[in-house]
Amino acid sequence: MSERLRDTVYLVFMTITVVALAALVLAAPDRDDRVQELGSRIRCPVCEGEAIIDSPAPMARDMMKLIRQRVDEGASDEEILSEITSSYSGAVLLDPPAEGATLWLWLAPLLALAGGISVILWWRAHPGGTPGSAKSATPSSPRRRSRAIAGGLLVTLVLGAVVVAAGSALQDREGPGGGAADLDSVDPSLVSNETMEAVIGANQDDPSIDGMRLALAERYFRAGDYRSAFPHYLAIAQSGTAADETAHTALVRLGWMAYDGNGEVETALELLDQALDIDAGSPMALYLKGLVLWCGADRPEEAGDLFQAVLDQADLEDETRTEVSDDLAAARRGEGCA
């Protein structure tokens, strides 16, 4: 090969390489990349420490749609982020702004670096000693240096292992929220409230989630946390896909919460009637409707009839029978409810 030919081949090869590299560097990220990148930088405002791209929350999904639309409209990343922060403040960014209290988060690595460099410089200036023991410094020896390096490596390895283990543990904890869990294989009694919320959020369109939703709502209800229970019962009652028994329980609970939590007598009676439409003989619905009529509407006679209907059922527990009997007697005597 002649020298000229070799130069030409070399020139062509270099040109192709430079053009290819320039194209790689200069090529604008495509639309989906930009949307994902922006979604990963914005904290879901209704979640805890989660980016909107990772969150199944309806609000996060609406924010992703907004970002997608703004990208399609030609808005720059800065414009989109500025729009979001002008509404939510810089706190909505997962990378906090380098100002105010969060400035320390950005300075921390620099401070750590400065600390590390000062230690190294000290060590180099006083080869035999350790920081803070200058007066006792002794000439260095290869064995001491090796020991120091080995110690540093050991500490690094241990710290690394701890970080990896912690990360792995966190991933395990967050696993069920990813939506990949087989809902039928999840035993709600073994799952924390937070995890159940995550699973429900990730599977909101799946009708089989109603069972877990009811289990979680019941936990809240029994703990007296009506505010947390309420949206779950409401979702079941409005889903139209819940099994009769599940919908009935949700309606009974909603009815009682409307009365006990908000003093809404008419709403409570309406919800309890809906529950009785599903199961006309439900002792719980009959008894609670009786209580609402007696305590909230001052209609003891109608309440008494409902209490009697409960007592007419054969399979009542003794404790329930005693309680209802006492209430029936008091209502029949025209007493106010206790």
Partner: protein
């Protein structure tokens, strides 16, 4: 590099580390949603939203010259239900003083919100709007509901209530705005988030 200089550097790093730890520790337990709204003192984000029954559109600019109270609510929110009667009463009490009340449904279908309002009671003093895609909720930086924004006659956000309000708080806030003050942001209680639709 002198040992003295290094000692000072080490001491500086130690002090900075302690300050850093204190700053971090002070944020533990703080609710990240309780950040002051950057909208206070700023022009209110414009909206033009359909009414819940879909028969008309209401825009903020169309209410220009009024003090506008914008309340984000939903049927699944207990605090919203609890404050509903007081909102209605306040809207009716201030309707002759150039105050318009707008309720914007948050994360809920218009049909479900309308069903709730049928039960809770509708007042002609209030406008009820849908918010497709939560665009207006996002523009107002809503973290949870109820959240209530107060916009003065010049279209500037001058107040915000986070959590359940009552007639006393609503009335006092409006009196303050009518008197030319900027009441700012007040947290009156918890807000709710819908875990799923």
């Amino acid at each position: 590099m002198s040992g003295r200089w290094l000692r000072w550097l080490g001491a500086g790093v130690a002090v900075a580390t302690v300050v850093f730890a204190v700053v971090l520790a002070s944020r533990f337990g703080a609710d990240p949603s309780l950040v002051p709204s950057p909208l206070i003192g700023e022009p209110a984000p414009e909206f033009a939203l359909p009414t819940l029954d879909g028969t008309s559109t209401v825009s903020l600019s169309g209410l220009e010259g009024d003090i506008v109270v914008v309340n984000f609510f939903a049927s699944w929110c207990l605090q919203c239900r609890a404050e509903h009667d007081d909102l209605v009463a306040t809207a009716e009490a201030f309707s002759e003083q150039g105050v318009s009340f707008v309720q914007i449904a948050y994360q809920e279908s218009p049909a479900q919100t309308l069903a709730y309002l049928d039960e809770a009671g509708i007042s002609p003093a209030m406008r009820h709007l849908a918010d497709p895609g939560s665009r207006t909720a996002i523009a107002y930086g809503v973290f949870g509901i109820p959240e209530t924004f107060f916009i003065d006659a010049d279209g500037v956000v001058v107040g915000k209530l986070v959590g359940e309000s009552n007639a006393l708080i609503l009335g006092a806030t409006l009196d303050s705005i009518l008197g030319g003050d900027q009441p700012g942001e007040t947290v009156t209680g918890d807000t709710m988030q819908r875990p799923s639709p």
